[in-house]
């Protein structure tokens, strides 16, 4: 018997039209949530409402529609601000996605604050989007990129972090939760270590903000990046949080409408925060729908979301331990591990597994998960990953385990497992 229910999963499922879809003759079992989440009707409807009732540009009209659109757009920013407990709405910048948020910091703050001989510290468990911008920055500036190791049990080596974060460090860029291992990193400890040497900390929170309570002030973080599409929101919109004192003096990145204060043919001056970083007509509809996604998650309560995911992860880890020939990546215990289980089969390639599971209507991720260095450091070239969210239940874990057993039988009969 499971412990007290944290979420009413059945009523949540009813909000997600896609979950009744048939795939290859089976009801969809969607376990690719670390790639993108599904969207509830409330979020889809907010997009329809905007386009059907008050579609208009923001910040520039005096007519009713533009006023309504501007209000809804800014209201959504306020929802995101409260969701991560940011100190002000001006500290929330809309971007396209996590990658753009990270690049924004690399091309603005870092461009003026990182120089030759400086060091950038990141971790062995980053997504490519939190490695490549720093590699490129290091090359442009003659700076050095340092990588904090992973421990044998899939955690971040905090002793190594303490060795690498020194007076030469200008920025520590770390994931909050690994998209491959599920490991939750003690970002507050890294923030303290960074601040102790006068460096800033940037947190890639793409995998944490959708799944757990996150408070940027309690974490004492300087920058945080995440995407709406992994937290029930639409694709094409992301967030950069920046500490207000830092954003105030940060130069703009892209130039155009909305980000200017005054323009002559010779020169221009910059608008206030956050508009200085939002050149051109923004992604109005998707920002508003992100607000609807935040409303949905807040109604559930992020403590409940995390508790539900801990429960399903514990159950999945337990069921995976029954399987033969499957190696798990990352922590085996549920403490400080998100609802992500990556695994490889000792002889069947993850793509072959993925194709077989798809025949059973099960969607998982296969490949290098945009984390090639991490996957290779585990001595493999590819892994499979199941990742869970608010609408997943233990019955779906059973479907996955049964599917893996069936795939094992199939490939074994075919002589390749």
């Amino acid at each position: 018997m499971s412990p007290a229910k944290n979420l009413d999963v059945e009523s949540i499922r009813a909000d997600f039209p896609i979950l009744t879809r048939q795939v290859n003759g089976r009801t969809l079992t969607y376990l690719d949530n670390a790639a993108t989440s599904q969207k509830p009707s409330q979020v889809i409807q907010s997009l329809v409402d905007y386009y059907e009732r008050y579609n208009s540009n923001v910040h520039r009209g005096v007519h009713t529609l533009s006023i309504e659109a501007t209000e809804a757009y800014e209201d959504a920013r306020g929802k995101v601000q409260r969701f991560i407990n940011a100190p002000s709405p001006e500290s929330i910048i809309w971007t396209r996605n996590t990658s753009e948020s990270l690049n924004l910091v690399a091309y603005t703050w870092a461009e003026t604050n990182v120089g030759a001989g400086d060091e950038i510290v990141t971790t062995a468990m980053e997504h490519h989007s939190d490695i490549v911008p720093w590699q490129q920055l290091a090359m442009r500036k003659g700076a050095t990129l340092k990588i904090i190791r992973e421990t044998e049990n899939g955690r971040l080596d905090m002793e190594h972090a303490a060795e690498l974060i020194t007076e030469r460090t200008k920025i520590v860029a770390t994931t909050h939760m690994s998209n491959v291992l599920g490991t939750v990193v003690d970002v507050k400890a890294l923030a303290d270590a960074a601040h102790a040497v006068g460096a800033v900390i940037l947190i890639d929170a793409a995998q944490s903000v959708p799944h757990m309570p996150v408070d940027v002030q309690a974490l004492d973080c300087d920058f945080m990046a995440f995407s709406a599409h992994k937290m029930l929101g639409p694709t094409g919109i992301g967030v950069l949080y920046g500490r207000p004192e830092i954003l105030e003096v940060m130069p703009p990145w892209m130039f155009g409408g909305d980000m200017i204060l005054e323009v002559s043919y010779e020169d221009a001056s910059w608008n206030d925060l956050p508009y200085r970083f939002e050149a051109g007509t923004p992604n109005i509809a998707d920002a508003i729908a992100t607000g609807a996604a935040v409303d949905y998650l807040e109604a559930l309560g992020m403590d409940n979301v995390w508790a539900h995911e801990q429960q399903i992860t514990a159950y999945a880890l337990d069921r995976f331990s029954e399987l033969e020939g499957i190696n798990l990546l990352g922590p085996r215990e549920v403490e400080d591990k998100g609802a992500v289980i990556s695994f490889s089969h000792e002889s069947v390639h993850s793509h072959d597994l993925g194709t077989a599971l798809d025949q059973l209507g099960i969607a998982i991720r296969t490949g290098h998960h945009c984390a090639m260095p991490l996957i290779r450091s585990h001595g493999i070239v590819s892994a499979a990953r199941a990742s869970f969210y608010i609408y997943n239940n233990e019955a779906e874990v059973d479907v996955l385990i049964d599917g893996l057993e069936e795939a094992q039988r199939y490939f074994s009969k075919a002589g390749i497992a």
């Binding site: 089976r26 793509h351 194709t355 077989a356 025949q359 296969t366 090639m372 590819s382 075919a414 390749i416």
Partner: protein, 152 residues
């Protein structure tokens, strides 16, 4: 009662393909190849390492090794069997025929003859996302040829 795996999946995992995956042919590395190429599929990380030994305009020896899914590795092994002994022009033609088969062209008896056992990869067509796995070693072949024997 729902059916288990099989059906469409059996069209993908044909015995010829499985055999080449289990026992890949022509994997001996050459000390002094005329041309060699590493090809990586950026979407999935599959790797093919190809070596060519040319004797004039003929492929006198060919070797493929790599890491990746059954489709990518079996396709590489199957490729070595039909390209070995062909002229560079014939090798390029075979690649075109193979690509046409994978992108859905009707396969005539003559084309089927020329593609030999690689015809078994026809089943991949029904799994569009896996077509790139089957094509990886063929694009490696073209890269390897371009390095030493550019097309006329």
């Amino acid at each position: 009662m729902q059916q288990g795996l099989g059906g469409e999946l059996d069209e993908l995992y044909q015995e010829v393909l499985l055999d080449h995956y289990r026992n890949p042919r022509n994997t001996d590395r050459m000390d002094d190849p005329t041309s060699e190429v590493d090809a990586i599929n950026p979407f999935c990380g599959d790797e093919i390492h190809m070596q060519l030994g040319l004797d004039g305009d003929k492929v006198a020896s060919i070797s493929v090794t790599g890491q990746g899914c059954s489709i990518s590795q079996a396709a590489g092994s199957l490729l070595t069997e039909i390209v070995d002994g062909k002229t560079t022009t014939e090798a390029r033609e075979l690649r075109e025929l193979f690509r046409e088969m994978m992108t859905g062209e009707e396969v005539s008896d003559e084309v089927a003859d020329r593609l030999e056992d690689s015809l078994a990869l026809q089943g991949v067509r029904r799994f569009p996302v896996r077509i790139k796995c089957a094509l990886l070693s063929w694009s490696a072949l073209i890269d390897a040829l371009d390095k030493v024997a550019p097309p006329n």
